[in-house]
């Protein structure tokens, strides 16, 4: 065993390892496109996801601009239908689902685990290529009379509309396999590549979240795949499985679709829980409160998430008994979710809170996600849902969760791991400004939509009553503010890449393993499998060092 002090010396000397980080190990575009290194694949995912986010964001701004006035503002109604379909499909399938697991998870998972790579590096690269191919098919739909079905592809409209639905379906089908293979890889990695001492209950909570997510990806996504495949065949040759005129049933499509797509919202939000579970203890300088409860509540959400799909179909003619059961299990999901929220708050209690950008985003998440989660309970109440179904209330609810939850946590994680990924620190001041602007913009965009929804503004409508115009305009102004915040974020993050590498190995004083390699990490992550002897949230030994502007481990302790 190396003596701790020697280890500490090595740990605090990032400059020496700059000569061979994963970023500089190989050169040339092919060394990226053919790489099997999980870190590079993670970075490629990150860039692609951000590109798709720009696309989906532009669609969103066009939509909001159109809604500035009733009737036509900038586009025709058919174009509007195509825009909201593509906004939904791009944001769901290209951004949020792969955002945290595939982009951040790929980079962080083996490092946090103390492994050299994921279990199947080739499969990992194949997942990225499947993402690219799937995205290409969505773009094919975009340029050839884009689909106008909404991202849910409900029959019978999706089998009868004249727009190019099949490329969009095929794209989503392929993206599903990308997601499945990522999940498969992660489960195997966490079972088989844990180094000595890394027991299940010493794993960072981000890994527990990724594990739960991977279970959902593996169990739910194949059902979406077969559903989309059946829909493609239905649309292509008219086999009648979803067509009542031929003995089929369109509601069966809804069941199949939500059997995937409700668990899929947990694919989107559970990794977000994982990210903030890392950030709250690190920036409170305090051990996480209720580790096992947070870990196991992720698993509970993954399991319960499979049993609630019917709450999307309260008005689709399912039996009252079924609807009652679905409604009851929907309420149950609030319990593990609230366990997490209370534990995060208790973690901060009497902590020494550092309000750096990742922590600001995590607090932002806590606030906004709670609104999104609680309004989900409203929608799970059958009597209320009949009133609110397909209104802006639903739109506001899931944007608070998806945008305020998943995207905010994605930003939190991106800011948290950015110095580790690229070896550069970003401009902290602009980070905080953009975060604040985003917070104002997000609430300004979506809070008026709750009010619109309760007053009866239906979702997906091109036109609306005069009396709704004020709230719609507030919402649009909020969307523009968010656009500005994202432009600022893109400028200072991408701008940081032009600086020389200046990030310390451990800028935040976290105790998880990824901070024990230099920033950026070495090509092989760890020379030897690390031996883990304590939990991931012990901060007592990490002290701030002004010279390196990072944290260093006190070398005095020894066992």
């Amino acid at each position: 065993m190396t003596s701790p002090s020697a280890t500490a010396d090595v740990l605090t000397a990032p400059a020496e390892s700059d000569s061979d980080s994963y970023l500089t190990h190989d050169k040339g575009i092919l060394s990226w496109l053919l790489t099997l290194d999980h870190k590079r694949i993670g970075v490629m995912y990150l860039m692609c996801v951000m590109g798709a986010f720009l696309l989906g964001g532009v669609f969103a701004l066009l939509l909001r601009t159109e809604l500035l006035t009733p009737g036509r503002t900038i586009v025709e109604h058919d174009t509007y239908n195509q825009l909201f379909t593509l906004h939904g499909a791009v944001m769901v399938f290209l951004v949020i689902i792969p955002g945290i697991p595939a982009a951040l998870g790929n980079f962080v998972l083996p490092l946090q685990l103390g492994a050299k790579d994921v279990a199947f590096p080739r499969l990992n690269l194949a997942s990225w290529y499947l993402w690219v191919i799937g995205a290409t098919f969505l773009l094919v739909s975009l340029v050839t009379n884009a689909a106008d079905t909404g991202w849910t592809f409900y029959t019978p409209y999706s089998t009868t509309t004249t727009t190019s639905v099949i490329p969009a379906l095929f794209g989503a089908f392929i993206l599903g396999f990308s997601s499945i293979f990522t999940g498969l890889n992660f489960i195997t990695t966490m079972h088989k590549l844990r180094p000595p001492g890394m027991t299940w209950f010493r794993m960072p909570l981000f890994l527990w979240a990724l594990y739960s997510t991977a279970v959902i990806q593996v169990l739910a996504t194949p059902v979406l795949a077969i559903t989309l495949l059946m829909l493609i065949v239905e649309r292509f040759i008219g086999i009648g499985i979803f067509d009542p005129a031929l003995g089929g049933d369109p509601v069966l499509f809804q069941h199949f679709f939500w059997f995937y797509s409700h668990p899929a919202v947990y694919i989107m939000i559970v990794p977000a829980f994982g990210v903030v579970s890392e950030i709250f203890p690190t920036f409170s300088r305090k051990r996480i409160f209720g580790y096992k409860f947070i870990a196991l509540s992720s698993v509970a959400i993954a399991i319960l998430g499979f049993l609630v799909w019917g709450h999307h179909m309260f008005v689709s003619g399912q039996s009252v008994v079924a609807a009652t059961i679905f409604s009851g299990i929907t309420f149950l999901i609030a319990i593990p979710t609230a366990i997490k929220v209370f534990n995060w708050i208790t973690t901060m209690y009497k902590g020494r809170i550092h309000l750096d950008t990742p922590m600001l985003y995590a607090l932002f998440f806590l606030w906004v996600f709670s609104i999104g989660g609680l309004t989900g309970i409203f929608l799970g109440v059958m009597s209320l849902d009949v009133h609110l179904h397909d209104t802006y209330f639903v739109v506001a609810h899931f944007h608070y969760v998806m945008m305020g939850g998943s995207i905010t946590a994605f930003l939190a994680g991106t800011h948290y791991w950015w110095p580790k990924m690229f070896g550069r620190t970003y401009n902290e001041k602009w980070g905080r400004i953009a975060c604040g602007l985003l917070f104002v913009g997000l609430n300004l965009t979506f809070f008026p939509q709750f009010i619109l929804g309760t007053r009866g503004m239906p979702r997906r409508y091109y036109n609306y009553l005069e009396e709704f115009q004020g709230l719609h305009q507030l919402s649009t102004i909020g969307a523009y503010l968010m656009g500005v915040a994202f432009v600022i974020t893109a400028i200072y993050l991408l701008g940081s890449l032009r600086k020389p590498m200046d990030a310390p190995a451990n800028p935040w004083g976290s105790n998880t393993l990824e901070w024990r390699t230099p920033s950026p990490p070495a090509y092989y992550n760890f020379h030897n499998p690390p031996e883990v002897v304590e939990g991931p949230y012990e901060y007592a030994d990490w002290v701030y060092d002004k010279r390196t502007r990072g944290y260093q481990r006190k070398a005095s302790h020894d066992s």
């Binding site: 740990l11 590096p121 590549l193 059902v223 009648g240 031929l246 030897n528 002897v533």
Partner: protein
């Protein structure tokens, strides 16, 4: 407390090291850098392929679910339509696939023991049996295209169910065999307008007394039939490609007692493809 030890590349090592398992990695070119031992690699692969098989079960699960729903909603369609399937071909294909599972399992054994020639033989046999399965499937599909027993709105059979040998066998109606030829004296018309769909003899055929009335939407059975057997067939083709790739590697002598994972995983996949057919056969062909 010693916390974490020796978890990073020493700064003086030139290009990142393989670490302590260097000797193991040098001895086995198939051992990937992130696994410690061949067994570690094999176990990981095994877990991976099992998870993949779970996703396959769920993938087919959607279709099995559709089958269950439509069969419970329209049992009459399923009873009526199954006469159009030939149990002989289905049973033959079941036998073919079970035999191919045997050769696949045998190939794993050969790889584990390093029996090079037997390994190649068994992989070739598995591929041959898989092609045999597809051949039978081709016979069945082309028969259905010919007879008009097609999915959904394309269902337009050239023969009514009571004209089929399978129906006559099941019901022992030898008398109706002559009726099916279309030569019997004119009887009373059946209520169902079945005649328009029977251009075979050029003349309207008379159903025998007691002949079943064709339910509405028989095509939905064939939609499910073609979706399920078609998806299964695609998996057989994927299996052939996989076995072909393994054959190439086997000829190069890549497999042996220290390295047989790929054959094992392919065989597991192949058994699942076989197993799905073992469920499809009774569900589609043996309905009562």
């Amino acid at each position: 407390m010693a916390q974490l030890v020796a978890d990073q590349v020493p700064p003086h090592e030139p290009s990142g090291g393989h670490g302590h398992a260097d000797a193991e990695h040098a001895a086995n070119p198939y051992l990937a850098h992130h696994f410690d031992t061949p067994k570690h690699q094999f176990d990981s692969g095994k877990l991976g392929i099992w998870i993949f098989l779970i996703t396959e079960i769920l993938f087919f699960g959607g279709l099995f679910c559709a089958y269950a729903i439509y069969r419970s909603l329209h049992p009459d369609i399923f009873v009526y339509a199954h006469y159009y399937l030939d149990t002989f071909w289905g049973a033959l294909n079941t036998g073919v696939l079970i035999l191919s599972s045997l050769t696949a399992a045998w190939a794993v054994r050969n790889a584990q023991l390093g029996e090079q020639k037997k390994l190649i033989f068994n992989i070739v046999a598995t591929i041959a049996l898989a092609f045999c399965f597809l051949g039978v499937k081709y016979v069945e599909y082309s028969h259905k295209f010919h007879e008009g027993t097609l999915p959904g709105r394309y269902f337009n059979p050239t023969h009514e169910v009571w004209e089929l040998e399978s129906y006559q066998k099941a019901h022992g109606q030898h008398g109706s065999a002559t009726a099916a030829e279309g030569h019997a004296a004119a009887g009373h018309e059946a209520a169902e307008p079945a005649g328009h769909a029977a251009p075979a003899g050029g003349e309207a055929k008379q159903p025998p007394p007691g002949a079943p009335v064709r339910p509405r939407n028989v095509g939905v059975f064939f939609s499910i039939y073609f979706c399920m057997t078609g998806l299964h067939g695609i998996h057989v083709v994927a299996g052939i490609i996989t076995w072909g790739w393994l054959l190439r590697r086997a000829i190069r002598g890549e497999f042996g007692p220290a390295h047989f994972g790929a054959v094992d995983y392919a065989a597991l996949y192949w058994h699942l493809v076989d197993l799905i057919w073992i469920y499809l056969f009774p569900l589609l062909y043996l309905i009562h």
